[in-house]
Symmetry: D2
Subunit: 302 residues, 4 copies
């Protein structure tokens, strides 16, 4: 028997890169959390501590900040592609690079009805994400968001389910449905090969499709809602070939007010913390090109 090094990667996680564009009096802000990782012939660093192929994670961090200036940040997808291409093309040992980015949204302050030039408040809604992989097999871009908290107060059912000796849940045809959605969508690599993609236009379009499906479907299960969200995105945005969804079912239980002589027809709920249902699903085109390592080292769906 021998012991071997298997899969591995290393990098710098969570560099908090803030970029102000101040070419005119009307500034712009980009507020990112950037994680970079390299893949390649790094076994000697593990086996004998030989660092000669290892670009320090500190250098990767420096590169992320330098590129925020030299390449700029038009979108996190484009900035991530520039970083990943640099590592693979310019750092000799690196065979693959993976860049994960979170973008925190800010809203321009409005003073007396006018948008302010250089003041913003943080929008605490969902966080936009991107995961870019570049290696010998090609370039892969995954857009996404996390923590989109969404709730509907009716239009959701749960009935007709399988029952066994541990089942006590009653069926319902009208309940609150809420989740804190994590969604990731993979682009067809052919869609951005050599051309300019308007990544910033795709993002709100995906989000609005998902919100629309969540709101308008008479839902028989959270599973069905997720499927409809993913299906609609792929149908309506040709450049997206795959959607992955992770959705906690944030339970809102009807409070029994009858001991206090009060009716409660779906009006007063307790929002529970734990446990919660957790649904994970992948929706994709049957002719989607292979993902290779685009999802490698991601959390959740492997």
């Amino acid at each position: 028997m021998a012991i071997i090094l298997g899969d591995n990667q290393y990098g710098k996680a969570e560099s908090r890169v803030v970029r102000i564009v101040r070419d005119t009096a009307r500034h712009e802000i980009h507020d990112l959390n950037v994680t970079t990782a390299l893949r390649g012939p790094f076994a000697p660093a593990y086996l004998v501590g030989d660092q000669s192929n290892v670009l320090p994670t500190d250098t990767q961090k420096n590169t992320a900040f330098a590129y925020a200036k030299s390449a700029g940040i038009r979108s996190i997808e484009e900035y991530g592609l520039a970083l990943a291409r640099h590592f693979v093309n310019d750092v000799e040992p690196a065979e693959g690079a993976r860049i994960e980015i979170e973008e925190f949204a800010w809203t321009r302050a409005v003073i007396d009805g006018v948008e302010h030039d250089h003041t913003w408040t943080r929008t605490g809604a969902e966080t936009r994400t991107a995961a870019i992989t570049v290696d010998a097999t090609g370039e892969y871009v995954i857009g996404g968001f996390k923590d989109l908290v969404i709730l509907k107060s009716t239009g959701s059912e749960f009935a007709g389910f399988l029952k066994d000796e541990y089942t006590t849940l009653p069926e319902t045809h009208d309940r609150v449905m809420a989740t804190s959605l994590v969604a990731k969508w993979r682009f067809d690599s052919a869609s951005f090969d050599g051309t300019d993609v308007d990544w910033n236009a795709v993002y709100p379009k995906v989000k609005s499709i998902m919100v629309r499906e969540f709101a308008t479907l008479q839902s028989l299960a959270l599973q069905q809602t997720l499927w409809q969200m993913g299906r609609a995105v792929i149908e309506e945005i040709p450049s997206i070939v795959e959607v992955r969804l992770t959705a906690p079912n944030k339970h809102h239980f009807v409070v029994d007010l009858s001991p206090f002589g009060l009716d409660n027809p779906g009006e007063v709920f307790i929002a529970a913390d734990r446990p919660y249902g957790l649904i994970e699903a992948q929706v994709l085109r049957d002719d989607a090109p292979p993902a290779h390592d685009a999802w490698r080292f991601s959390a959740g769906l492997a």
Copy 2:
């Protein structure tokens, strides 16, 4: 020497009360985190374990849910006053009650340009708060918010400060200023005594005044910005007699890009986590009526 019981209170913290108003097809949502506490002759519970005066915290929780139905939730201030008055008036031993509430904001989903009747996404911006105290001395209402994250990319200086042998900070006349503001404002109790206050109208007014002052003041220090925020609120809203502000100075450090041959005139920053400056201040009318126990057991400014 004798050992005595000093100050004390007890209650139920963080009941997650969600109220849906569904009288018409267009639902409304109120999403609260409610903490209640009682004050009074509870020493026997401590000294000898005698619970005969102790209304269980479980009962306090039930009351919060029942009142969400029976009294409703027009504003967190009004709902909190109803709860506090109930405990003091209807629970014989209770001499004082304190209700603390957080309200999480939701935004109605917009589908094809139309607001949806029963779907919302959580607005992750600041959390609205209220702290209501009712006791023998009167009724006290403190409005507020926490975690309003706000940033300006210019219009902020820090210079002319005291220097000693441990000072290394350079002076600057143009920096990023950012904070995650906690603000609390105390109402003149006379302003809501017997009359209807439009609490929901006051809240956005306070917030917009604070954002305006943050944005438009050429700031010489975060202290000055806080003072101007508090002063303006008191000047422009007569029913508010006191403002308390807690403001971390969320440092954004200019990254030195010169080793990479790049200029960085205030364009690329690293957002630091810790340590951070922390400024706390109280601003008030010199004729403000006494606060008595309105702030008792609060975090921060005592």
Copy 3:
């Protein structure tokens, strides 16, 4: 009507100071989170942005790190006193200083039965705390800990409580009692004036007294347990004149297994997150010297 600046302080929060003592091959580690604040004539910084009296928070941070070397860290109480005295004595405008410190505990790794010289694992149990105040009225030291999570599986009752129309809780004479205790104890300032106190010896003594009382009292209410903890500390440690306790009642609910044909005589529980009971109490000697501003700006009990 005039608007005035009331109570205020400013400083640097959460400097993560790690001190390694390496005078011999057997190293020591002190791992602190240090917050400093100054009080005094700082109104001009607020009113007109005049910083001439303001020692920057960056300088306060530098001082905390420099003192970790020059004064050393024998105990957090002693190190905090040195810092506070420096600010009040050496920084001319400062009239008062408040130092809050958290200490994270590490345990020496044991390799083949022998303690290792320079490797530790973090002990994740409670965090030791200190709050030191120095001003014109004297010197005040508050020791403490936070997040001591403690549970007893029997020996706890809750019965004989007040009932009203919102009460549904059944009485019980055998339940799980658990809390995540925050405790703070104030020393008699006379006890450390001019003499060496062995702060590091007091800490485990206080903790073991509290754990003993929690374990051995047949508890009729969490209030009673808190009282006994505070009372015993003051009785057994003459230098401590006051104890303040904040204790969430971390509910463990018996799960109803009868639908599955199973008995559950206090064996299977669900640990709930929210809501939770919250008990806060102060226990003190009736001849305790005045605390002046020792507790000012603390969270909780004012």
Copy 4:
């Protein structure tokens, strides 16, 4: 083009199961966080909302609590196997089950030198974990822990690394090395097939091997330390065929005290929050049996 449902699973996350064993006066406690998930022919729930094959997540939760009583919790591996086997064997549609468990450690309180029968304090050190998968291909058990925070104050170097135009990091031959380790180890399924494994004995053995390697290796890189940890575990524990490690490099930067006239030869550090290095690696026997879906839906290494 057609759109299809890809990989998916659903279940109940984070049921907080607390089990007290009270057969004698000396109680035992098991404090778990249990997540269950099912895999199988659940496409109709997504595509058309048909729940007839769907065992509700609420039922899965009930089962976890019921099994805490009926099967008991001797170890989290054994309890997890019992749950997984039940779902696959007894719930007709389920083809696979995955159980993830966290166990929070408690230490018996010691009163006057004697261990107490029914009181514990929570040990906040690392959290033990298990991930059990049962499906048509077999049974898979992954043991582990997360958040083992470990630090060495010397015996760590980083030099000889690759340099490019973004490299500014100096080389060092003596630095602090610290991490918050996540480790997972896969057992040879043959090792527990039909026999009793003493899972509770393996756990401390793995941990002590890892701590030993971290402490005693003169480390040339965190990568090398991880490799040695994994290698040693596999060499010394024959039933373990694979180890996966995720290790943030928790940077401790030497503070420059020279402006204050102080030397700092590796004595005073600032512990940084973000960014941090992140090293992920898999170590395995070259004849390890296939893992099939044992790691599916895990975070990190896919």
